[in-house]
């Protein structure tokens, strides 16, 4: 049985003034997979990511999610349908405690604050922040803030998680824990799209990668195919591989 893809991005174009950040980008994401969105700086990864999350309207093309046309839906409505995201620079609610940050997300599926608070504690335990639940969100260390971002997004009980450079700036051991967490998220049946720079970490984690360059899709395939693709090596891995 061939399942319909969870996400279908069709011919998306986004311009900022004279700059075309995404040109005619199409991709599909199957249910339950971890898709890596990679490419050199300025390739349009973040733009595409934000277009899927609903941070701004796109200029052309369409986006379908789980049977709905979400092209013109605002961000909160996409969240209600099951799209959650993290931010590249963590955006915590600093007037609230850690658990209340997560509670805001949990309210998406639970109208009662008591039930939402309960769910928030469970999610915090899941991401390993259970012991920091009552701390003020502003007191968290940067890696803890990354976990909080994950927890908040998970609390909305999404079908699709968009992770924006969640590994950047982590030490190797923190990053390994992060990889483990993302695997556990996928094991919950959540589809993941991750934008990432740190190739060594991403490659073993993802099922498939889409490589963007200059706003267009350059290549698409399994991590093995991608690292062997001469176009990708030239565009992205080239320098590093020559150096090694």
């Amino acid at each position: 049985m061939t399942e319909t893809p969870l996400l279908e991005v069709s011919n998306v174009t986004k311009r900022f003034g004279g700059l075309t950040a995404n040109a005619d980008v199409s991709l599909t994401v199957a249910r339950g997979e971890i898709l890596g969105l990679i490419g050199p700086n300025g390739a349009g990864k973040s733009t595409l990511f934000n277009a899927i999350a609903g941070a701004f309207p796109i200029d052309a093309g369409s986006i379908r999610f789980d049977g709905h046309d979400i092209t013109s839906l605002p961000c909160p409505a996409r969240c209600a349908l099951g799209i959650a995201r993290t931010f590249q620079v963590p955006r915590s609610f600093d007037s609230m405690s850690v658990v209340e940050n997560v509670l805001v997300g949990a309210l998406t599926r639970r109208p009662k604050t008591r039930a939402a608070r309960h769910a928030a504690h469970e999610v915090l335990d899941f991401v390993g922040l259970g012991s920091r639940a009552e701390a003020s969100a502003g007191e968290l260390t940067p890696p803890e803030k990354r976990r909080l971002e994950m927890a908040r997004a998970l609390a909305t009980e999404p079908k699709l998680m968009l992770l924006d450079e969640v590994m950047t700036g982590l030490t190797p051991s923190e990053a390994r824990e992060g990889v483990e967490l993302i695997r556990r998220v996928r094991d919950q049946g959540i589809t993941v799209i991750m934008v990432e720079h740190v190739m060594e970490i991403v490659m073993p984690l993802i099922d498939r990668a889409v490589v963007l360059e200059l706003g267009r899709v350059l290549a698409e395939g399994t991590p093995k195919e991608i690292v062997a693709d001469p176009r990708v090596i030239a565009a992205y891995l080239g320098d590093r591989h020559r150096a090694a």
Binding site: C75, C79, R91, S92, S95, V99, R114, H121
Partner: protein
Amino acid sequence: MSLTSFLASPPSRFAARHRRQLHLAVPVVAALAALPFALHDVYLLNVLILTLLYAAMAQSWNILGGYCGQISLGHALYFGIGAYATTLLWVNHGITPWGGMVVGAALSAVTALAVGRLCFRLKGHYFSIATIVIAEIGLLIVHNAEFTGGALGVQWPIAGDGWWSLQFGRAKAPYVWVALGLFAATWLVTWVIEDSPWGYWWRAVKDDVQAAESLGVEVFASKMSAAAVSAAFTAVGGGFYAAYVAYIDPESVMTFRFSLLFALPAVLGGIGTLWGPLVGALVLVPLTEITRSYMGGSGSGLDLVIYGGLIMVVALARPEGLLSLLPRRSR
């Protein structure tokens, strides 16, 4: 899960902490309600009434400014709407001030929604400036309209004293209780909101709009609801004030000064906190009244100088307000 482990679970620990605030509020309100039995000095009772009124107004302002993060400097408009609605309905139609307060609250909420529709696209300082301008427009309209009595204002006629007319002759104690009741109502609403979905959405909107949206929070609806609740209670305060002084004109209820005086106690005590407005009002209002009476006519404006000085000290030393002197848990 056994009962004991359930009771010790983090959500119930929070619920217990939240309930403790209520247990703290009951004796505080009871003590304030008993004060008129101990105080007989008319001047001191007047200071007490104004303190409670400003505490209630700051608490109302805090709902929009402190919890939702939308710094309005135009709440004098809502205060004025409440004062004029109550006054005109009583003076012209004999409708009890209680009814006037309800009408004023409804009118204010609708006005706040209209203002919000115009202004909530603006962010930060731009929003604050827009609220000042709109309140000034309101002041000009009231100044020049005929049905409001224009610049002359409206005098409440001498009527039978009692709870129906909210006139008590020389007795001050009933006004203390009404002002206290208003403060208690605003406090209770804030307390309920603090642990309601709206409370969390409002704070999320205050802290980070983009993150809030990504978590499904309807930002515009959140701001609008906070504005309506905040404006409605401010109008009730305006209605009470009109009944208390029994004479209003545009200058005495609608000038920019009031917008500032509603925001300052919350800022001083602790913006976005449950007890900040009362703490701020307990410091600011007596201080103002005392400087005013000691300085007499020559000191007019000095109270505002002291206000400004205090705010600067707080901003430099304790940006989160006086309440931040207490440990986090007990706030």
